[in-house]
Every structure is written in C-alpha cells, then in structure tokens.
Symmetry: C2
Subunit: 461 residues, 2 copies
C-alpha cells in the first residue's frame, strides 16, 4: 500500500480487529466473575477473535477468563490459539473440555496442537480420540517436523479413476461422512496412487456419463509427505493450487493439504524471515514477558558487542592519526553507517530473491554484477555529495575527498557482501535470513572505518 490507509482503525468491520468497547465489556465481565455476561459478549464472535482475545489478556485475567468460559472452549478456538500460550491454556482447562475439543478437530489441527508436547501430555490427548482418528494423527507424527506430512489432513475424498461423473455424484450423495472443507475429488488407481483430480464445480457442471479422467485439472500435482512445508506454501502460491494430494515414499495417497493451511505457513515463513533479519527469535510473541523478551534478544546483542569490538580494534590502529585530527572521529561513523544501510538493502533484496527462487544459479552472476555496478554508482553519487560538503561545510576539500573515496570503497563492499553472503549461506544449506545481517554489517563497519582512517592517515596527516 503506497497510500495512507483510509480505514478508521476503531471500526471492527473495517480492519477485522476487536473494538475497544468489546474488550472493555469482556474485561468487565471477567473481573465481575459474570459468566452469563461473558457468554453473551462472546456469542457473536468468531473463534479466531476469541483466540486473539485470550492471547491479549494478562496472564492473571486469562486464568479467570478460562475458569469462567471453559465450557465454551471448543476445537476451533483451541486450534486458533497461538502456540506461545497454548500449553498454558490447555493446562488450565478441565481435561474433559480438552478431550471434547480435540475430538472435533481435523487430524491436521490435532497434529499441530500436540506435536510440540511432551510424551505424557501427547498420550493424554491421543487417548481422547477414537481409534481411526488416533491412527491418522499417529501416522502424521511419523513424518519429519515442518514437513507436508505434518501439515496434511488424512481425510481425503477419493474416487476410482475409471468412474463417471454420475457414479461420483451418487457416491458423494450416499456417503455418510464427508470432510468439512473439500474442493476436489482425487482420482486414485487400484494401488492408491493419485492420478488426477476433479473440482466439485466441474463435477456439478458435467453430464453424468462423462468420465472423471476426462475432466481432471491441469494444475494437478502431488506433494511428497517429506517436502518442507515452506516449499509447499511456495508451490501453492506459485501454481495457484487450492488443494494438493500428499503421497508417501511409494507414491501412495496419504492425505491432502488445503490452501488455507498453506496460506498460514506462508504467513509464518514470512514472519520468520522478517524477524530473523532483525535478529529476533521467531519465537517472540506479544504475550511474552520482559524476562523472556530480554533473554531472546540478548544473544544477538552480545554477538554485536564482539563484532563491534573488531571495529574498535580497527579504529585503535589509527590512534595517532585521530590524535592529530580529532574531527576524523566525528566523521568516521558517516562512512560506516551509510555502508551499513547499503549492505542491508542489497541483502534484503538477495534474501527475498532466494526465498522466491528468483535468484538462481542461472542469473546469480548477472545479479552480482548488477549489485557491484549499483554499489559503484551510489558510491560515486555519495562521494560527490561528501566532497562538496567537505569543501563547503568543513572548508576542506581534502577531507571531503577522503570521505568520498572511503564511501566508494565501502559501498562496493556493502553491495558485494549483501549478495555474496546470503548466496554462500544458501549454498551451504543455511538460512540466509538468519546470520547474513551480522556478517554484512561487520564487513561494512570494519571497511568503513578502515578505508576512511587509512586514507586519512595517508593523505591528510
């Protein structure tokens, strides 16, 4: 959005958040211990809003809330609650409420709920499920964490590939149980290999004698249960998939992933990259307390203390130059910090392009060259400004020239570091969003101080 938002942030309709009045009413009901008033306030609300509300309460009020409202917590609300407080919520709910809630959930939501739990708590929840649901959840848990196998739901609507539209419709109309949400009928061969799918719309629109295999969608593609969930989300977005069958190592159908789950994963992956680039654990939540928050952020701060000490070491090599011309101390952060910004720019573009597969081995060399040239161009532009500023403001063309030359060198280092560091991390199989920033700003800081002070001691002193 390049324009300012016109929407009124107080209107819940306008931006899908709870109004101040709603929250006040709910807080009051909780404080008064007034169960019926709470039920009345929450009655019209969507499960996702109730979950948001629970997340935003203070821990003490949350306990009170759960006590008053426990009877109404269902599977939908439970699966919407953020992982950061979900364990806390489950502990505070009566066991039978949790059991009842879990029985209503699709297998993928149960997997999501219990996969990070300790063995005994896992077992307690599994015990609440009936035989076939439990088996489905247990099968899902055998797939690696963050894989398609964990993301899929086992409930799939299938049809033999030789069926006609009429047979499929009759089957669906006779079937007692169908999933809440399904958009395709998956065609399978006798060995349960998926061979195509038909949308319900196409099914409804086709004549009864048409064969299913003649109206399958081109977009059909299967996903391996071992596939990383981030790649799955990428594929859904790229190929506009609505649902995709998941297969095991023998290519046999084991489940289906629907786009709403892929969309959640896409959202989480983006959030993770965003936070990682800023050196924040992707485990941070608004509901975290100050100690937790401080502890999550401290490691990167300590690492920065160490890398900044390297810069201090570089600067200390030029103590005699600085002693002779103290103004250099005031000017040196200009080169270092502008290099840092340029490095971050180049880095952000490269990290995104790697994530979207737009930066590949096919065009890496061109992108590196582009960054090099762009760095040189901006270095030159900034150098002109600095030289003039040096001459006019500081009254020293020489200082301006030193600033300018150092800036060119640092812009080139920034541009190169910004693309080469994430490319190298990615080649090593590491997440380029995670540590690139530290490498790049260490490079630009050290280079910024070194180039400026080095040139200064050569030319000025």
């Amino acid at each position: 959005m390049t324009e300012p938002r016109e929407t009124d942030t107080d209107a819940p309709e306008a931006d899908f958040q709870l109004s101040r009045q709603d929250i006040d009413a709910i807080n009051k009901a909780v404080d008064d211990g007034d169960g019926p008033a709470l039920d009345a306030a929450l009655e019209p609300m969507h499960a996702a809003d109730i979950a948001d509300l629970i997340e935003q309460l203070t821990p003490a009020r949350r306990r009170e809330f759960l006590h008053l409202y426990s009877g109404e917590i269902d599977g939908e609300i439970l699966s919407e609650i953020d992982e950061s407080i979900r364990d806390e919520v489950i502990e505070q709910l009566p066991r039978e409420v949790v059991a009842e809630a879990v029985r209503e959930m699709d297998s993928d939501d149960v997997v999501d709920l219990i996969e990070d739990m300790e063995e005994p708590e896992q077992q307690a929840i599994l015990a609440a499920l009936d035989e076939s649901d439990r088996a489905a959840v247990e099968r899902s848990l055998t797939w690696p964490e963050y894989s398609a196998g964990r993301l899929m739901q086992s409930e799939v609507v299938t049809a033999p590939e030789h069926w006609s539209v009429g047979e499929a419709i009759d089957f669906l109309r006779a079937e007692e149980w169908l999933p809440d949400q399904f958009y395709h009928v998956v065609l399978v061969d006798p060995r349960r290999h998926p061979t195509g799918y038909v949308t319900l719309g196409k099914l409804l629109a086709s004549r009864r004698e048409v064969l299913l295999r003649d109206i399958t969608e081109d977009s059909f593609r299967t996903i391996s249960a071992r596939q990383d969930e981030g790649d799955v989300a990428y594929a859904f977005n790229k190929y506009h998939l609505i649902s995709a069958p998941v297969v095991d190592d023998d290519d046999r159908l084991v489940g289906v992933i629907t786009i709403d789950d892929a969309m959640s994963v896409l959202d989480e992956e983006h959030e993770e990259d965003f936070l990682r680039m800023a050196r924040v654990s992707d485990d941070s939540h608004v509901s975290d307390g100050p100690f937790q928050t401080a502890r999550q952020r401290l490691p990167w701060l300590v690492i920065n203390l160490c890398t900044a000490s390297l810069s201090a070491l570089v600067i200390s090599r030029f103590e005699s130059t600085l002693a002779q011309l103290v103004i250099l101390a005031a000017l040196m952060p200009i080169v270092a910090s502008t290099g840092g910004i340029a490095g971050t720019q180049s880095l952000a573009v490269a990290v995104r392009a790697l994530a979207t597969r737009e930066l590949t081995s096919a065009n890496a060399r061109r992108v590196i060259l582009r960054e090099l040239m762009a760095g040189m161009l901006n270095g030159l532009g900034l150098a002109v400004i600095l030289t003039l500023a040096g001459a006019i403001i500081l009254g020293s063309l020489q200082i301006g020239l030193v600033l300018g030359m150092a800036m060119i060198a640092n812009q080139v280092v920034a541009a190169m570091g910004g693309v080469l560091v994430p490319l190298s991390l990615s080649r090593l199989g590491l997440d380029p969003a995670l540590a690139s920033g530290t490498f790049v700003t260490t490079m630009t800081d050290m280079m910024g101080f070194f180039a400026f002070l080095g040139l200064a001691s050569w030319i000025l002193v």
Copy 2:
C-alpha cells in the same frame, strides 16, 4: 524452519524451480532460433514456470524468446509475468496475441494487467474484450487502487435464498457457463444482498429437499469493495476463508474474492514490509538493471548521510574530550551499534505485531512497559560484560563503567524508540515499516555517542 534443508536444490521436483538443464536447453533453442525445440522444451511446463523463465532471461534474449514463442503466450502466462517486465513483454507481442490472451483471462486478472497502463494502452486491451467482460473490468476499475473491488472477480455463482438443494443442483447442471474456480454458491435476496453461502461439498452431500439457507456456513462474511486489499488478505488468513462475496456501498453483491488471490496479496504485503524495513523500494525486482537499482536505493542512503551528520555533530561537541583520550573514539561505536541492533529488534517485533493486530490499544501500554523492562535488563547485562571487559582488556574499570552506563541508557532508548515510533506512525495512518528504521537508528546513534562521550567527559577527563 530451524533445521537445515534436506532437499537437493538441483531437483526441480523438490523445490519447484527450473533445473539448470531446462534453462540451458531453452537458452540454446533461443540462441539457435529453433522454434520447435523451444516449444518442445516448454510444452510440459506450467504457465508460472514459463513466466519465471521469461523474467530471468536477459532483455536481449527475452526479445528473441518472445519472437519465437509469441504464438504460445496465453492469458495464463501473461497474468503470471511480473509487473516489472510485463509492459515490455506486451509491447513486444503481436497485438492479436495479446487480445486473444486477454479474452481468456478472468476479470480480476485483466484488471491487474491493465490498471497501471496508460489510457491508450488500456483502451486497446479493453477493445479486445466482449461487451460484458469489458463492462465488468471497467466497473472494477472504478474502485480505488489496492481495494477489494480491484481484487475481486465479477463472475459469481448465486442462488435465490429460498431455493432448495435440488433446485440449486439442477440450476448448476443446466448452466452453460460457470467460472473455472468456484467453491461456494452465494445466496442473495431479491435486491441482490448476499445473505450466506453454501459450499459445493455441502450441496453435494445434502438431500434435494433441504433448503440452502439451512446449510450455510458460519464463516460467511461479506467484504466491502472499498476495503484495503491488505486487510482482505489478513481476514482470509485469520478466518480461514476460501472465498468471500464483495459488496458495494449499498451492500449489493458485485463480485467474489477467492483465497488464491488473497494469498498472493498476503505474499506481496509481507514482501513489501520486508523490503521497506531494509529501506528498499518495494518496486525492486531481480530483473532490474544497475542504474534502476542504484536510483531506487540512493534516496535512503542520502537520508542516512543526513542523519549520520547529526551524529557527527554530536561527536564534534566532544572534540576536546576525544583529543585528551583518543581511545574513546575507538570505543564509541560499540555503544551506538549495539543500541542500533536492540532498536531494530524491538522495532521488528512491534511492526509485525501491528500488522497482525496483536498490538492494539488494549495492550499497547503493557507492551511498552515490557520493552522498557527488557531494555533495562539487557542494558544491565551488557553493562556487566563491558565493565569487566574494560577492567580486564583495557585495564580501566572507569572506562568500563562509562561504557556500561552509556549502554544501559542507549538500550532503554532503543527499546522505547523501537515500539513508540511505529505505534506513533501507525496512529498517524502511516506505514510503520516505511520510516521507523531511520528514526530509531538515528535515535540510538545519537544517544549512543552522546551518552558515552558525555559520561566520559564528566567522569574520565
């Protein structure tokens, strides 16, 4: 993903990108001017992959490619091509190829294609559409940019709210034309106000005499055509919507938005935030040339030159202190840069939380207090390390103490700035991802230098 990726990046199946061999084969066919070889290589590929390929070619080769392949460019490929090169591609295609491609597209894709074009080009494309499609596109274009009205498709399957399942099924089976993708039948009253929707799955599973209004989904909500598209994407993700009817100012049905389009918007909004936080125009593309790239990044670099000059001004006030104790010049970036990291951390968490509506007026005070305390805690922790390091490495407890005290002050400023700046921008209706970083690092730089040098001139000199 916290674990390293197991997938082999050369396998196209594994991560949905083109293999080196495919690209080499295609490059060769283009260079040889071998149309049939090119057709054969592209035949099995998805439109999205062909679009990716076109984006990754050098401009010269792209021209050659389009010349050889123009007959095969259809609506699907055209709507997948990135905006950055789409105009270029359209210019190079024969007019009748574009016209044919546009006729195949859904109205939302046509809107997306032409909304940024100049009037004459827009008219040329609109002229290729038949009467009713053109009217639909023109209606869409009357809604504001980045609104639900631009995102929706006009093709909606509706049914009168009093119909039974049997009537709806008979209607669908008799209907000549149905959209490619649809998942719901929208119920409308006689004045075309949407009153609910029924999934196709529910329709198929229900008995013929059941009334549609008795099997509508709870998830139903309408979206105003004026709603910002980012809010629409947020609502789809939050409420797990698959499609949502769009209404005009009189609450009358004008179109429908489907989740795949909402997912694309979510992806773009995240990308925008990611790039904006790193001070890169969200208009940057991997296919941009060096001049374009340099020009897009220069403004923020020049702004940083100005803010860095403010820091230089702060430092220059302490020239006499620095002249007496040159080691201070080497140490001062430590306080400033560690403050910068802390500010970025706090900022990133706040910007995300604002985007996800987790940071609201209901909990803003608590989050501000949390940041304040976390900043103090980390300031204390870092101060202990710095004091010890000062005493042991530099042999001066006093310098260590000055470093430590300055660090505490700067960590608090960083934590406060990181949350108060985006909150304030957001209250003013501005995008907190856009300018917060510059404000916050300017604050932490200036505070870092000022606190350290101020304390040093008071205590040490």
